[in-house]
């Protein structure tokens, strides 16, 4: 059975690496990087759901009867777009924070805020 599932597990590991970067790292850009990795891994997971042994790309052609499942592809196309949108916004925020605080390290920002309050 493990042969059947192993690459799901690889994806899980990838996801978790990304997830870890997001929540553990203090650097804002690094967080975003983590986020992209996290999301991309999820995409891979979706795509591998859609895969069928011996199937081909879901573009109709003569003499091919077995296509891989197109639906997840569509979903992921959308998801990728969402991902880039989030990334762009996050980075923009990071830039503004850099301007406002002069740093993009979580701790330093926190300290500066605490000093304000």
């Amino acid at each position: 059975m493990f042969l059947g599932l192993y690459n799901y597990w690889i994806m899980v590991v990838l996801m978790m690496i990304g997830f870890y970067i997001v929540i553990a790292h203090g650097n804002l850009v690094k967080k975003i990087v983590g986020l992209t990795i996290f999301q991309t891994s999820v995409f891979i997971f979706y795509i591998s759901i859609s895969n069928i042994d011996g199937g081909t790309a879901p573009i109709l052609a003569e003499g091919i009867s077995r296509y891989s499942n197109p639906l997840p592809h569509v979903l992921i196309l959308t998801a990728i777009v969402v991902g880039i949108a989030t990334t762009a916004l996050g980075l923009a925020l990071a830039m503004r924070i850099k301007e406002a605080y002069g740093s993009i390290e979580e701790e330093e920002i926190q300290q500066r805020d605490n000093r304000e309050c």
Partner: protein
Amino acid sequence: MLAHLPVLQVIVPLLAAPSCIILRRPGWVWLFTLLVSGSAFLISIALLQQVMASGVIVYELGGWEAPWGIEYRIDTLNALLSLIITGISTVVLLAARTSIKEEIPEDRHTLFYVLYLLSLAGMLGIVTTGDAFNVFVFLEISSLSAYALIALGRDRRALWASYQYLIMGSIGATFILIGIGLMYQMTGTLNMEDLSQRLPEVAQTRTVFTAFGFLIVGICLKLALFPLHLWLPNAYAYAPSIVTAFLAASSTKVALYLLIRFTYSVFGVSFSFTTLPLQTLFVVLGLLGVFVASTTAIYQKNVKHLFAYSSVAQIGYMIVGYSISTTAGLMATLLHMFNHALIKGALFLALGAVFYRVGSVHLRDFHGLGRQMPFTMAAIVVGSLSLIGVPLTVGFVSKWYLVLAAVENGWWPVAVLILLGSLLAIVYTWRIVEAAYFKAPQAGIEQVKEAPLSYLVPVWMLVSANIYFGIDTRLGVHVATAAAQSLFGVGP
């Protein structure tokens, strides 16, 4: 055209947003936005009547029948939610013009309205769609615009708050995405109705458990349920007043809606509450939320923070009612959802008025406001009373049903705790009242005038709604009951 109402509800604001870019002139854009939001409100009223009269409305987008296409599926719950959202947004918009003049640089005004409309459309999309993945898409629309809106706040901490919200929100969204993927893998469909029929076959698989877990956690992140609420207070405190009023009244409600929808409709009560220890967990978390958040609220200096924490506490109440998982409990939750939207809308809008005049919502700047801004402060007092749950306000109605539901279920201690929780509300709201009425204004701070009408009118619209629905409770109770019953498969 009547048949198209469900989709118009969403696409009117959705398409209005880009049109704003074409309009450009902030004044016009404001008027336009107001009109759009208002018409959305009217549509939602019409929808509610339609649903109450003739049951569930289904609308197939692109003419493809579900599950192949995406369908809009509107029952009483959806209609109620969209009523709340559009109503609040319309009232809040009345004050927007005045408010953002103070708080947002001139060249951003048009963009502000665009984002506002987008987030409105996103929420409406979430609450009307019957397709799991479509939820995700519109969730992102509303979230992204919300991040941007919060970041428009004047204080630089707004940026940091927005960033934290973005990270938290994206994690939540990704979790939801994983959950949806797993569900799809096991059932091969994305349509909620279809899911609810096909999930039971595979309900006992570990994959479905995982899917459920991820969905719940993801949604609770958006919902700011107690342990996951850390992003909320700052986001509310530093966002522009209008945004705070709008989001506080609507966004968490939407998340709660998702929670209810997925647990009750998609997975089904039996799965959600019997095969998992969800009930106990949520009761405990809810009550913890009520007490921890309320206690934190007591020690806040910034009044926006104070009410933000109280929002977390109120979410706790809703979760308690939700996890009683009887018609009565769910009905209490829905009612409180509606009422809390009114309460917090009024309070945060009034705070906006204070901010507009005083330039700060720090507790010490409230000293003597009782005399200087009598109407605004009166509004805050009424809102606070409603928050506490004093009779003749909406807060009392929902509290009554919540306690009743707990008692009916034999959960006496829970009932007592709910009531004790509202005592904490007395404490933190009364700090404001005393500051406003018993403290002399600080030396060196010049007298401020009463807020302008453009603020007072919407504030008092909401306040009087608080009182009206506290005195004439038929509408709220009727709709909430119908919605709760429909979720339990009884009635419409």
